[in-house]
Protein backbone atom coordinates (compact mmCIF):
# COMPACT_ATOMS: atom_id res chain seq x y z
CA UNK A 1 0.00 0.00 0.00
CA UNK A 2 1.06 3.62 -0.16
CA UNK A 3 1.64 4.14 3.54
CA UNK A 4 5.24 5.13 2.75
CA UNK A 5 4.16 7.91 0.42
CA UNK A 6 1.60 9.00 2.96
CA UNK A 7 4.35 9.22 5.55
CA UNK A 8 6.39 11.34 3.15
CA UNK A 9 3.38 13.59 2.76
CA UNK A 10 3.23 14.01 6.52
CA UNK A 11 6.89 14.92 6.78
CA UNK A 12 6.57 17.38 3.92
CA UNK A 13 3.54 18.99 5.53
CA UNK A 14 5.42 19.22 8.82
CA UNK A 15 8.47 20.75 7.13
CA UNK A 16 6.34 23.52 5.64
CA UNK A 17 3.92 23.95 8.49
CA UNK A 18 6.31 24.00 11.44
CA UNK A 19 8.47 26.98 10.41
CA UNK A 20 5.30 28.80 9.39
CA UNK A 21 3.72 28.11 12.76
CA UNK A 22 6.90 29.16 14.56
CA UNK A 23 7.06 32.44 12.63
CA UNK A 24 3.36 33.23 12.85
CA UNK A 25 3.14 34.91 16.29
CA UNK A 26 5.76 37.49 15.32
CA UNK A 27 3.23 38.90 12.82
CA UNK A 28 0.22 38.79 15.11
CA UNK A 29 -1.17 41.27 17.62
CA UNK A 30 -1.10 40.34 21.29
CA UNK A 31 -4.60 38.92 21.56
CA UNK A 32 -4.05 36.75 18.52
CA UNK A 33 -0.86 35.40 20.06
CA UNK A 34 -2.94 34.43 23.06
CA UNK A 35 -5.42 32.78 20.74
CA UNK A 36 -2.65 30.69 19.17
CA UNK A 37 -1.48 29.56 22.60
CA UNK A 38 -4.93 28.39 23.62
CA UNK A 39 -5.35 26.71 20.27
CA UNK A 40 -2.19 24.67 20.80
CA UNK A 41 -3.34 23.70 24.30
CA UNK A 42 -6.68 22.64 22.85
CA UNK A 43 -4.91 20.59 20.17
CA UNK A 44 -3.07 18.72 22.92
CA UNK A 45 -6.33 18.16 24.72
CA UNK A 46 -8.25 16.74 21.76
CA UNK A 47 -5.41 14.54 20.57
CA UNK A 48 -4.86 13.08 24.02
CA UNK A 49 -8.63 12.63 24.27
CA UNK A 50 -8.54 10.72 21.01
CA UNK A 51 -6.42 8.05 22.69
CA UNK A 52 -9.24 7.45 25.17
CA UNK A 53 -11.83 7.25 22.40
CA UNK A 54 -9.64 4.73 20.56
CA UNK A 55 -10.29 2.23 23.35
CA UNK A 56 -13.99 2.76 22.71
CA UNK A 57 -14.84 5.01 25.62
CA UNK A 58 -16.11 8.57 25.71
CA UNK A 59 -15.15 10.23 28.95
CA UNK A 60 -16.27 13.49 30.53
CA UNK A 61 -13.33 13.82 32.88
CA UNK A 62 -10.65 14.91 30.45
CA UNK A 63 -10.92 18.59 31.23
CA UNK A 64 -10.68 17.87 34.97
CA UNK A 65 -7.57 15.80 34.30
CA UNK A 66 -6.11 18.85 32.61
CA UNK A 67 -6.96 20.73 35.79
CA UNK A 68 -5.22 18.05 37.85
CA UNK A 69 -2.03 18.75 35.96
CA UNK A 70 -2.53 22.48 36.49
CA UNK A 71 -3.22 22.25 40.21
CA UNK A 72 -0.43 19.73 40.75
CA UNK A 73 2.19 21.86 39.04
CA UNK A 74 0.91 25.04 40.74
CA UNK A 75 1.06 23.46 44.18
CA UNK A 76 4.41 21.80 43.61
CA UNK A 77 6.04 25.02 42.46
CA UNK A 78 4.24 27.47 44.75
CA UNK A 79 3.91 25.57 48.00
CA UNK A 80 6.73 23.04 47.68
CA UNK A 81 9.10 25.47 45.93
CA UNK A 82 9.92 22.96 43.28
CA UNK A 83 11.61 24.18 40.12
CA UNK A 84 8.90 24.80 37.51
CA UNK A 85 10.82 22.82 34.89
CA UNK A 86 10.48 19.82 37.22
CA UNK A 87 6.99 20.49 38.51
CA UNK A 88 5.49 20.38 35.00
CA UNK A 89 6.56 16.84 34.02
CA UNK A 90 5.95 15.68 37.57
CA UNK A 91 2.42 17.09 37.41
CA UNK A 92 1.79 15.22 34.15
CA UNK A 93 2.94 11.98 35.78
CA UNK A 94 0.75 12.69 38.81
CA UNK A 95 -2.23 13.22 36.51
CA UNK A 96 -1.57 9.84 34.93
CA UNK A 97 -1.41 8.35 38.44
CA UNK A 98 -4.76 9.95 39.33
CA UNK A 99 -6.26 8.46 36.15
CA UNK A 100 -4.80 5.10 37.06
CA UNK A 101 -6.45 5.26 40.49
CA UNK A 102 -9.76 6.40 39.00
CA UNK A 103 -9.63 3.61 36.43
CA UNK A 104 -10.25 1.00 39.12
CA UNK A 105 -13.84 2.09 39.71
CA UNK A 106 -14.43 3.81 36.33
CA UNK A 107 -13.19 1.24 33.84
CA UNK A 108 -15.34 -1.47 35.38
CA UNK A 109 -18.06 0.36 33.49
CA UNK A 110 -18.50 0.66 29.77
CA UNK A 111 -20.30 2.90 27.33
CA UNK A 112 -22.96 5.14 28.77
CA UNK A 113 -22.21 4.11 32.36
CA UNK A 114 -18.58 5.00 31.94
CA UNK A 115 -19.56 8.34 30.45
CA UNK A 116 -21.73 9.25 33.43
CA UNK A 117 -19.29 7.72 35.90
CA UNK A 118 -16.45 9.79 34.49
CA UNK A 119 -18.58 12.92 34.77
CA UNK A 120 -19.38 12.16 38.41
CA UNK A 121 -15.76 11.44 39.27
CA UNK A 122 -14.66 14.61 37.50
CA UNK A 123 -17.16 16.75 39.38
CA UNK A 124 -16.09 15.17 42.67
CA UNK A 125 -12.49 16.17 42.00
CA UNK A 126 -13.44 19.62 40.76
CA UNK A 127 -15.68 20.34 43.74
CA UNK A 128 -12.89 19.22 46.05
CA UNK A 129 -10.77 22.02 44.56
CA UNK A 130 -13.66 24.37 45.15
CA UNK A 131 -14.40 23.47 48.76
CA UNK A 132 -10.92 22.85 50.15
CA UNK A 133 -9.45 26.31 50.58
CA UNK A 134 -6.28 24.69 51.79
CA UNK A 135 -4.42 23.63 49.67
CA UNK A 136 -6.47 24.36 46.54
CA UNK A 137 -7.52 27.94 47.26
CA UNK A 138 -11.26 27.32 47.11
CA UNK A 139 -13.49 28.90 44.46
CA UNK A 140 -10.98 31.66 43.80
CA UNK A 141 -8.29 29.12 43.09
CA UNK A 142 -4.59 29.77 43.20
CA UNK A 143 -2.84 32.96 42.16
CA UNK A 144 0.72 34.19 41.82
CA UNK A 145 1.91 30.88 40.49
CA UNK A 146 5.60 31.08 39.67
CA UNK A 147 6.31 31.43 35.94
CA UNK A 148 8.63 29.34 33.83
CA UNK A 149 11.98 31.05 33.55
CA UNK A 150 15.19 30.21 31.82
CA UNK A 151 18.52 31.79 32.72
CA UNK A 152 20.50 32.11 29.52
CA UNK A 153 24.20 33.06 29.64
CA UNK A 154 23.87 35.82 27.05
CA UNK A 155 20.85 37.51 28.65
CA UNK A 156 20.95 39.73 31.71
CA UNK A 157 17.37 38.99 32.69
CA UNK A 158 16.12 35.40 32.73
CA UNK A 159 13.91 34.57 29.76
CA UNK A 160 10.38 34.60 31.11
CA UNK A 161 7.72 32.35 29.63
CA UNK A 162 4.83 34.55 30.68
CA UNK A 163 5.58 36.52 27.55
CA UNK A 164 3.39 35.09 24.77
CA UNK A 165 6.07 34.52 22.12
CA UNK A 166 8.59 32.51 24.16
CA UNK A 167 5.77 30.53 25.75
CA UNK A 168 4.16 29.91 22.38
CA UNK A 169 7.42 28.59 20.93
CA UNK A 170 7.99 26.30 23.92
CA UNK A 171 4.41 25.09 23.70
CA UNK A 172 4.79 24.48 19.98
CA UNK A 173 7.73 22.17 20.65
CA UNK A 174 5.92 20.33 23.45
CA UNK A 175 2.78 19.98 21.34
CA UNK A 176 4.69 18.61 18.36
CA UNK A 177 6.55 16.08 20.48
CA UNK A 178 3.29 15.05 22.17
CA UNK A 179 1.54 14.68 18.83
CA UNK A 180 4.40 12.62 17.47
CA UNK A 181 4.34 10.30 20.49
CA UNK A 182 0.57 9.90 20.37
CA UNK A 183 0.68 9.28 16.63
CA UNK A 184 3.30 6.58 17.15
CA UNK A 185 1.25 5.01 19.89
CA UNK A 186 -1.85 4.91 17.71
CA UNK A 187 0.06 3.28 14.85
CA UNK A 188 1.93 0.82 17.04
CA UNK A 189 0.87 -2.65 18.10
CA UNK A 190 -0.82 -1.00 21.08
CA UNK A 191 -3.01 1.02 18.71
CA UNK A 192 -4.09 -2.17 16.95
CA UNK A 193 -4.86 -3.81 20.28
CA UNK A 194 -6.94 -0.79 21.31
CA UNK A 195 -8.83 -1.12 18.03
CA UNK A 196 -9.51 -4.76 18.90
CA UNK A 197 -10.73 -3.88 22.38
CA UNK A 198 -13.01 -1.23 20.91
CA UNK A 199 -14.60 -3.13 18.04
CA UNK A 200 -14.53 -6.83 19.01
CA UNK A 201 -13.98 -7.06 22.76
CA UNK A 202 -14.87 -10.76 22.96
CA UNK A 203 -12.58 -11.74 20.12
CA UNK A 204 -9.81 -9.65 21.65
CA UNK A 205 -10.16 -11.47 24.97
CA UNK A 206 -10.33 -14.83 23.19
CA UNK A 207 -6.92 -14.28 21.61
CA UNK A 208 -5.38 -13.16 24.86
CA UNK A 209 -5.96 -9.42 25.24
CA UNK A 210 -6.48 -8.18 28.78
CA UNK A 211 -8.89 -5.48 27.66
CA UNK A 212 -9.11 -3.79 31.06
CA UNK A 213 -5.37 -3.29 31.03
CA UNK A 214 -5.39 -1.69 27.60
CA UNK A 215 -8.32 0.57 28.38
CA UNK A 216 -6.46 1.69 31.51
CA UNK A 217 -3.32 2.30 29.49
CA UNK A 218 -5.22 4.52 27.06
CA UNK A 219 -6.95 6.38 29.87
CA UNK A 220 -3.74 7.00 31.83
CA UNK A 221 -1.69 8.00 28.77
CA UNK A 222 -4.44 10.37 27.66
CA UNK A 223 -4.42 11.82 31.19
CA UNK A 224 -0.65 12.30 31.06
CA UNK A 225 -0.86 14.59 28.03
CA UNK A 226 -3.94 16.41 29.34
CA UNK A 227 -2.06 16.97 32.61
CA UNK A 228 0.96 18.23 30.69
CA UNK A 229 -1.22 20.75 28.85
CA UNK A 230 -2.76 21.83 32.15
CA UNK A 231 0.60 22.23 33.85
CA UNK A 232 1.97 24.39 31.04
CA UNK A 233 -1.20 26.46 30.94
CA UNK A 234 -1.13 27.31 34.64
CA UNK A 235 2.40 28.75 34.53
CA UNK A 236 1.50 30.90 31.58
CA UNK A 237 -1.67 32.27 33.10
CA UNK A 238 -0.27 32.52 36.63
CA UNK A 239 -3.58 31.52 38.16
CA UNK A 240 -6.00 28.62 38.20
CA UNK A 241 -9.56 28.13 39.46
CA UNK A 242 -12.09 25.29 39.41
CA UNK A 243 -14.49 26.95 36.97
CA UNK A 244 -11.97 26.71 34.15
CA UNK A 245 -12.53 22.96 34.11
CA UNK A 246 -16.32 22.83 34.31
CA UNK A 247 -18.42 20.52 32.16
CA UNK A 248 -19.12 23.28 29.62
CA UNK A 249 -15.44 23.32 28.68
CA UNK A 250 -15.48 19.54 28.40
CA UNK A 251 -18.32 19.73 25.93
CA UNK A 252 -16.10 21.77 23.61
CA UNK A 253 -13.65 18.87 23.45
CA UNK A 254 -16.47 16.51 22.52
CA UNK A 255 -17.72 18.91 19.84
CA UNK A 256 -14.25 19.38 18.34
CA UNK A 257 -13.64 15.64 18.19
CA UNK A 258 -17.04 14.81 16.74
CA UNK A 259 -17.05 17.62 14.19
CA UNK A 260 -13.46 16.86 13.19
CA UNK A 261 -14.12 13.15 12.87
CA UNK A 262 -12.94 10.12 14.78
CA UNK A 263 -11.54 7.90 12.06
CA UNK A 264 -8.13 9.46 11.60
CA UNK A 265 -5.52 11.02 13.83
CA UNK A 266 -5.89 14.31 11.98
CA UNK A 267 -9.68 14.46 12.49
CA UNK A 268 -9.81 16.00 15.99
CA UNK A 269 -6.98 18.42 15.10
CA UNK A 270 -8.91 19.60 12.06
CA UNK A 271 -12.01 19.96 14.23
CA UNK A 272 -10.38 22.09 16.90
CA UNK A 273 -8.49 24.28 14.43
CA UNK A 274 -11.42 24.96 12.11
CA UNK A 275 -13.94 25.62 14.86
CA UNK A 276 -11.58 27.75 16.93
CA UNK A 277 -10.57 29.85 13.94
CA UNK A 278 -14.22 30.35 12.97
CA UNK A 279 -15.01 31.27 16.54
CA UNK A 280 -12.20 33.83 16.47
CA UNK A 281 -13.36 35.29 13.12
CA UNK A 282 -16.85 35.85 14.47
CA UNK A 283 -15.51 37.45 17.65
CA UNK A 284 -16.73 40.90 16.54
CA UNK A 285 -20.33 39.67 16.29
CA UNK A 286 -20.16 38.66 19.90
CA UNK A 287 -23.89 38.33 20.61
CA UNK A 288 -24.37 36.23 17.45
CA UNK A 289 -21.44 33.95 18.16
CA UNK A 290 -23.27 31.10 19.95
CA UNK A 291 -25.94 31.07 17.24
CA UNK A 292 -23.37 30.99 14.43
CA UNK A 293 -21.40 28.29 16.23
CA UNK A 294 -24.56 26.26 16.71
CA UNK A 295 -25.50 26.65 13.07
CA UNK A 296 -22.09 25.45 11.93
CA UNK A 297 -22.42 22.43 14.19
CA UNK A 298 -25.86 21.60 12.83
CA UNK A 299 -24.78 22.01 9.21
CA UNK A 300 -21.66 19.90 9.59
CA UNK A 301 -23.57 17.16 11.43
CA UNK A 302 -26.20 17.15 8.71
CA UNK A 303 -23.90 17.26 5.69
CA UNK A 304 -20.69 15.78 7.04
CA UNK A 305 -21.70 13.09 9.52
CA UNK A 306 -18.24 11.52 9.27
CA UNK A 307 -16.61 14.77 10.28
CA UNK A 308 -14.50 17.38 8.56
CA UNK A 309 -11.82 14.74 7.95
CA UNK A 310 -14.12 13.15 5.36
CA UNK A 311 -14.36 16.38 3.35
CA UNK A 312 -11.32 15.84 1.06
CA UNK A 313 -12.49 12.31 0.18
CA UNK A 314 -15.98 13.59 -0.54
CA UNK A 315 -14.74 16.40 -2.75
CA UNK A 316 -12.56 13.93 -4.61
CA UNK A 317 -15.58 11.69 -5.15
CA UNK A 318 -17.62 14.64 -6.35
CA UNK A 319 -14.85 15.69 -8.75
CA UNK A 320 -14.51 12.17 -10.12
CA UNK A 321 -18.23 11.99 -10.76
CA UNK A 322 -18.07 15.38 -12.50
CA UNK A 323 -15.27 14.18 -14.73
CA UNK A 324 -17.06 10.91 -15.45
CA UNK A 325 -20.24 12.81 -16.30
CA UNK A 326 -18.34 15.18 -18.60
CA UNK A 327 -16.69 12.27 -20.39
CA UNK A 328 -19.81 10.10 -20.53
Amino acid sequence: MNSASRRHGWWLAAAVLLPALAALPFFLPFHRQDFMIFLLLDVMLVVSYRLVTLSGEWSLIHMVLMGCGGYASALLSKRADLLVWLSIPLAALLTAAVALLLSFPLLRMRGFYFLIGSYAAGEAVRLAWKYFVYPFGGPKGLKLIPPLELQLPFLEQPLSFVEPIPFYLLLLVVTCVSLLLLYRLEHSRIGLTLHMVHWQPSLAEAVGVNSWRYRTLAFACGAFFAGLAGALFVHYLGSINPNQFAIGEMLYILVWVIIGGTRTFAGPVIGVVVLSVLNEIFRQYDEWRPAIYGLILLLSMRFLPDGLESLPGRLRGLWRRRVAAAQG
Binding site: R184, S188, R189, L192, T193, S202, V207, N210
Partner: protein
Protein backbone atom coordinates in the same frame (compact mmCIF):
# COMPACT_ATOMS: atom_id res chain seq x y z
CA UNK B 1 1.66 -38.69 21.13
CA UNK B 2 1.13 -38.43 24.84
CA UNK B 3 -0.58 -41.67 25.80
CA UNK B 4 0.09 -42.20 29.49
CA UNK B 5 0.03 -38.50 30.36
CA UNK B 6 -3.01 -36.60 31.62
CA UNK B 7 -5.64 -35.82 28.99
CA UNK B 8 -5.23 -32.40 27.40
CA UNK B 9 -8.67 -31.31 28.51
CA UNK B 10 -10.54 -32.72 31.43
CA UNK B 11 -13.94 -31.47 32.54
CA UNK B 12 -14.99 -32.76 35.96
CA UNK B 13 -18.51 -32.45 37.32
CA UNK B 14 -19.11 -29.08 35.71
CA UNK B 15 -22.30 -27.29 36.77
CA UNK B 16 -23.70 -23.97 35.64
CA UNK B 17 -27.08 -22.52 36.45
CA UNK B 18 -28.75 -19.30 35.37
CA UNK B 19 -31.31 -18.49 38.02
CA UNK B 20 -33.56 -21.53 38.15
CA UNK B 21 -32.34 -22.94 34.85
CA UNK B 22 -29.71 -25.64 35.10
CA UNK B 23 -27.65 -25.19 31.94
CA UNK B 24 -24.98 -27.73 32.81
CA UNK B 25 -25.49 -30.56 35.26
CA UNK B 26 -22.38 -32.43 36.44
CA UNK B 27 -20.83 -32.76 33.00
CA UNK B 28 -17.58 -34.74 32.87
CA UNK B 29 -15.50 -35.76 29.90
CA UNK B 30 -11.92 -35.94 28.70
CA UNK B 31 -10.22 -35.02 25.45
CA UNK B 32 -6.87 -36.56 24.58
CA UNK B 33 -4.13 -34.64 22.84
CA UNK B 34 -4.37 -34.72 19.06
CA UNK B 35 -8.07 -35.56 19.00
CA UNK B 36 -10.88 -33.94 17.05
CA UNK B 37 -13.86 -34.06 19.40
CA UNK B 38 -17.38 -33.25 18.35
CA UNK B 39 -19.81 -31.79 20.83
CA UNK B 40 -23.40 -32.25 19.71
CA UNK B 41 -26.87 -32.07 21.12
CA UNK B 42 -30.23 -30.48 20.46
CA UNK B 43 -30.66 -26.71 20.77
CA UNK B 44 -30.41 -25.59 24.37
CA UNK B 45 -28.49 -28.69 25.41
CA UNK B 46 -25.72 -26.56 26.95
CA UNK B 47 -23.04 -26.89 24.29
CA UNK B 48 -22.33 -23.18 23.99
CA UNK B 49 -22.49 -22.74 27.75
CA UNK B 50 -19.91 -25.49 28.11
CA UNK B 51 -17.67 -23.76 25.58
CA UNK B 52 -17.96 -20.45 27.36
CA UNK B 53 -17.05 -22.11 30.65
CA UNK B 54 -13.97 -23.75 29.20
CA UNK B 55 -12.81 -20.53 27.49
CA UNK B 56 -13.41 -18.47 30.63
CA UNK B 57 -16.30 -16.35 29.36
CA UNK B 58 -18.47 -17.88 32.10
CA UNK B 59 -17.41 -18.80 35.59
CA UNK B 60 -18.41 -22.38 36.41
CA UNK B 61 -20.85 -22.86 39.29
CA UNK B 62 -19.17 -26.05 40.43
CA UNK B 63 -16.72 -28.58 39.06
CA UNK B 64 -13.31 -28.27 37.55
CA UNK B 65 -11.72 -27.78 34.17
CA UNK B 66 -8.16 -29.00 33.77
CA UNK B 67 -5.77 -28.34 30.94
CA UNK B 68 -3.05 -30.99 30.84
CA UNK B 69 -3.74 -31.62 34.53
CA UNK B 70 -3.69 -27.95 35.60
CA UNK B 71 -6.91 -26.35 36.76
CA UNK B 72 -7.95 -23.40 34.57
CA UNK B 73 -11.54 -22.79 35.67
CA UNK B 74 -12.43 -19.38 37.04
CA UNK B 75 -9.71 -17.52 35.17
CA UNK B 76 -10.55 -14.69 32.74
CA UNK B 77 -10.58 -15.50 28.99
CA UNK B 78 -7.33 -13.72 28.16
CA UNK B 79 -5.43 -15.79 30.74
CA UNK B 80 -6.94 -19.00 29.45
CA UNK B 81 -5.95 -17.96 25.93
CA UNK B 82 -2.43 -17.42 27.24
CA UNK B 83 -2.47 -20.98 28.62
CA UNK B 84 -3.34 -22.30 25.16
CA UNK B 85 -7.13 -22.53 24.92
CA UNK B 86 -8.51 -20.36 22.14
CA UNK B 87 -12.09 -20.25 20.93
CA UNK B 88 -13.80 -19.03 17.79
CA UNK B 89 -17.28 -17.55 17.67
CA UNK B 90 -20.60 -18.66 16.30
CA UNK B 91 -21.32 -15.47 14.43
CA UNK B 92 -18.35 -14.78 12.20
CA UNK B 93 -16.49 -12.43 14.49
CA UNK B 94 -13.85 -10.47 12.61
CA UNK B 95 -12.57 -6.94 12.27
CA UNK B 96 -14.77 -6.27 9.26
CA UNK B 97 -13.23 -2.85 8.62
CA UNK B 98 -9.65 -4.16 8.46
CA UNK B 99 -7.83 -6.04 5.72
CA UNK B 100 -7.28 -9.78 5.91
CA UNK B 101 -3.61 -9.28 6.74
CA UNK B 102 -4.41 -6.73 9.44
CA UNK B 103 -6.94 -9.13 10.97
CA UNK B 104 -4.26 -11.77 11.21
CA UNK B 105 -1.78 -9.33 12.70
CA UNK B 106 -4.39 -8.49 15.32
CA UNK B 107 -4.48 -12.18 16.25
CA UNK B 108 -0.77 -12.08 17.10
CA UNK B 109 -1.33 -10.10 20.29
CA UNK B 110 -0.03 -12.74 22.69
CA UNK B 111 3.26 -13.12 20.89
CA UNK B 112 3.94 -9.68 19.47
CA UNK B 113 2.65 -7.20 22.03
CA UNK B 114 5.18 -4.89 23.56
CA UNK B 115 5.21 -2.34 26.33
CA UNK B 116 4.36 1.32 26.13
CA UNK B 117 7.91 2.63 26.04
CA UNK B 118 9.11 0.19 23.41
CA UNK B 119 6.20 1.27 21.23
CA UNK B 120 6.83 4.97 21.80
CA UNK B 121 10.54 4.75 21.15
CA UNK B 122 10.14 2.53 18.11
CA UNK B 123 11.94 -0.42 19.75
CA UNK B 124 9.22 -2.83 18.71
CA UNK B 125 10.33 -3.25 15.09
CA UNK B 126 11.72 -6.74 15.59
CA UNK B 127 8.50 -7.93 17.22
CA UNK B 128 6.40 -6.34 14.49
CA UNK B 129 8.52 -8.13 11.91
CA UNK B 130 7.95 -11.43 13.73
CA UNK B 131 4.25 -10.61 13.82
CA UNK B 132 4.20 -10.02 10.06
CA UNK B 133 6.01 -13.29 9.43
CA UNK B 134 3.67 -15.27 11.67
CA UNK B 135 0.66 -13.66 10.01
CA UNK B 136 2.13 -14.44 6.58
CA UNK B 137 2.58 -18.12 7.47
CA UNK B 138 -1.02 -18.40 8.63
CA UNK B 139 -2.14 -16.52 5.52
CA UNK B 140 -0.76 -19.39 3.45
CA UNK B 141 -1.99 -22.01 5.90
CA UNK B 142 -5.63 -20.94 5.61
CA UNK B 143 -5.26 -20.20 1.88
CA UNK B 144 -6.01 -16.48 1.87
CA UNK B 145 -2.79 -15.23 0.25
CA UNK B 146 -4.59 -13.78 -2.79
CA UNK B 147 -7.11 -12.01 -0.63
CA UNK B 148 -4.66 -10.52 1.84
CA UNK B 149 -5.38 -6.88 0.96
CA UNK B 150 -9.16 -7.28 0.85
CA UNK B 151 -11.35 -6.07 3.67
CA UNK B 152 -12.72 -8.84 5.86
CA UNK B 153 -16.26 -7.62 5.16
CA UNK B 154 -15.76 -8.26 1.43
CA UNK B 155 -14.93 -11.95 1.85
CA UNK B 156 -17.38 -14.77 1.09
CA UNK B 157 -18.54 -16.75 4.12
CA UNK B 158 -16.09 -19.62 3.65
CA UNK B 159 -13.13 -17.26 3.56
CA UNK B 160 -14.41 -15.31 6.54
CA UNK B 161 -14.51 -18.51 8.57
CA UNK B 162 -11.03 -19.42 7.39
CA UNK B 163 -9.87 -15.98 8.48
CA UNK B 164 -11.50 -16.36 11.90
CA UNK B 165 -9.72 -19.68 12.23
CA UNK B 166 -6.44 -18.03 11.21
CA UNK B 167 -6.83 -15.34 13.88
CA UNK B 168 -7.37 -18.04 16.50
CA UNK B 169 -4.35 -20.01 15.26
CA UNK B 170 -2.10 -16.98 15.66
CA UNK B 171 -2.72 -17.10 19.40
CA UNK B 172 -0.85 -20.45 19.19
CA UNK B 173 -3.44 -22.64 20.86
CA UNK B 174 -2.89 -26.16 22.18
CA UNK B 175 -6.63 -26.62 22.28
CA UNK B 176 -8.89 -24.96 19.73
CA UNK B 177 -12.60 -24.58 20.45
CA UNK B 178 -14.60 -24.13 17.25
CA UNK B 179 -18.15 -22.87 17.73
CA UNK B 180 -20.29 -24.06 14.79
CA UNK B 181 -17.58 -23.65 12.15
CA UNK B 182 -19.82 -25.05 9.39
CA UNK B 183 -23.04 -23.15 10.06
CA UNK B 184 -24.57 -21.72 6.90
CA UNK B 185 -21.94 -23.16 4.58
CA UNK B 186 -22.62 -24.77 1.21
CA UNK B 187 -21.21 -28.30 0.52
CA UNK B 188 -18.08 -26.99 -1.22
CA UNK B 189 -17.29 -24.59 1.60
CA UNK B 190 -17.98 -27.34 4.14
CA UNK B 191 -15.59 -29.73 2.41
CA UNK B 192 -12.92 -27.05 2.29
CA UNK B 193 -13.38 -26.18 5.95
CA UNK B 194 -13.21 -29.88 6.90
CA UNK B 195 -9.92 -30.22 5.07
CA UNK B 196 -8.62 -27.10 6.82
CA UNK B 197 -9.67 -28.48 10.21
CA UNK B 198 -7.80 -31.72 9.55
CA UNK B 199 -4.77 -29.68 8.57
CA UNK B 200 -4.94 -27.84 11.88
CA UNK B 201 -5.01 -31.13 13.74
CA UNK B 202 -2.04 -32.41 11.76
CA UNK B 203 -0.11 -29.35 12.93
CA UNK B 204 -0.49 -30.68 16.47
CA UNK B 205 -3.52 -28.80 17.74
CA UNK B 206 -6.33 -30.57 19.56
CA UNK B 207 -9.81 -29.53 18.47
CA UNK B 208 -13.20 -29.53 20.14
CA UNK B 209 -16.06 -28.39 17.95
CA UNK B 210 -19.71 -27.67 18.52
CA UNK B 211 -21.65 -28.37 15.35
CA UNK B 212 -25.11 -29.12 14.02
CA UNK B 213 -23.96 -30.28 10.60
CA UNK B 214 -23.95 -34.03 11.28
CA UNK B 215 -22.22 -34.89 8.05
CA UNK B 216 -19.28 -32.73 9.03
CA UNK B 217 -19.24 -34.05 12.59
CA UNK B 218 -19.38 -37.69 11.52
CA UNK B 219 -16.76 -37.21 8.84
CA UNK B 220 -14.33 -35.24 10.94
CA UNK B 221 -14.45 -36.29 14.58
CA UNK B 222 -12.64 -39.18 16.28
CA UNK B 223 -15.06 -39.07 19.19
CA UNK B 224 -18.38 -37.43 19.78
CA UNK B 225 -19.85 -36.22 23.07
CA UNK B 226 -23.62 -35.75 23.19
CA UNK B 227 -25.29 -33.34 25.60
CA UNK B 228 -28.99 -33.11 26.33
CA UNK B 229 -30.67 -30.78 28.83
CA UNK B 230 -27.27 -29.94 30.28
CA UNK B 231 -26.32 -33.55 30.93
CA UNK B 232 -23.92 -35.90 29.29
CA UNK B 233 -26.06 -38.26 27.25
CA UNK B 234 -23.62 -40.38 25.32
CA UNK B 235 -20.02 -40.55 24.24
CA UNK B 236 -18.14 -42.62 21.70
CA UNK B 237 -17.08 -42.95 18.11
CA UNK B 238 -19.35 -41.30 15.54
CA UNK B 239 -20.74 -44.71 14.46
CA UNK B 240 -21.62 -45.87 17.97
CA UNK B 241 -23.21 -42.54 18.86
CA UNK B 242 -25.26 -42.54 15.69
CA UNK B 243 -26.76 -45.89 16.61
CA UNK B 244 -27.29 -45.07 20.29
CA UNK B 245 -31.05 -45.26 21.02
CA UNK B 246 -30.82 -42.56 23.71
CA UNK B 247 -29.28 -40.14 21.24
CA UNK B 248 -31.90 -40.90 18.59
CA UNK B 249 -34.64 -40.32 21.11
CA UNK B 250 -33.13 -37.07 22.33
CA UNK B 251 -32.98 -35.68 18.82
CA UNK B 252 -36.50 -36.75 17.88
CA UNK B 253 -37.89 -35.94 21.32
CA UNK B 254 -36.26 -32.55 21.36
CA UNK B 255 -37.92 -31.67 18.09
CA UNK B 256 -41.25 -32.17 19.85
CA UNK B 257 -39.92 -30.39 22.95
CA UNK B 258 -38.77 -27.53 20.77
CA UNK B 259 -42.22 -26.92 19.31
CA UNK B 260 -43.74 -27.11 22.77
CA UNK B 261 -41.38 -24.49 24.05
CA UNK B 262 -41.95 -22.30 21.03
CA UNK B 263 -45.70 -22.40 21.46
CA UNK B 264 -45.76 -21.14 25.02
Amino acid sequence: MATAAAPLLEVRGLCKRFGGLVALDRVSFQVREGEIRGLIGPNGAGKSTLFKNIAGFYRPGAGEILLAGRPISGRPPYEIAGLGVVRTFQETTLFQELSVMRNLEAGCHLHASSGLFRALLGLDRERLERQRQAAGRILDFVGLRERRAQLASELPLGSQRALALGIALLAKPRLLLLDEPFAGMNPAETAHMMELTRKVRRSGITIVLVEHNMKAVMGLCDFVTVLNFGRLLAEGTPESVRRDPAVLEAYLGSAAGGTERASC
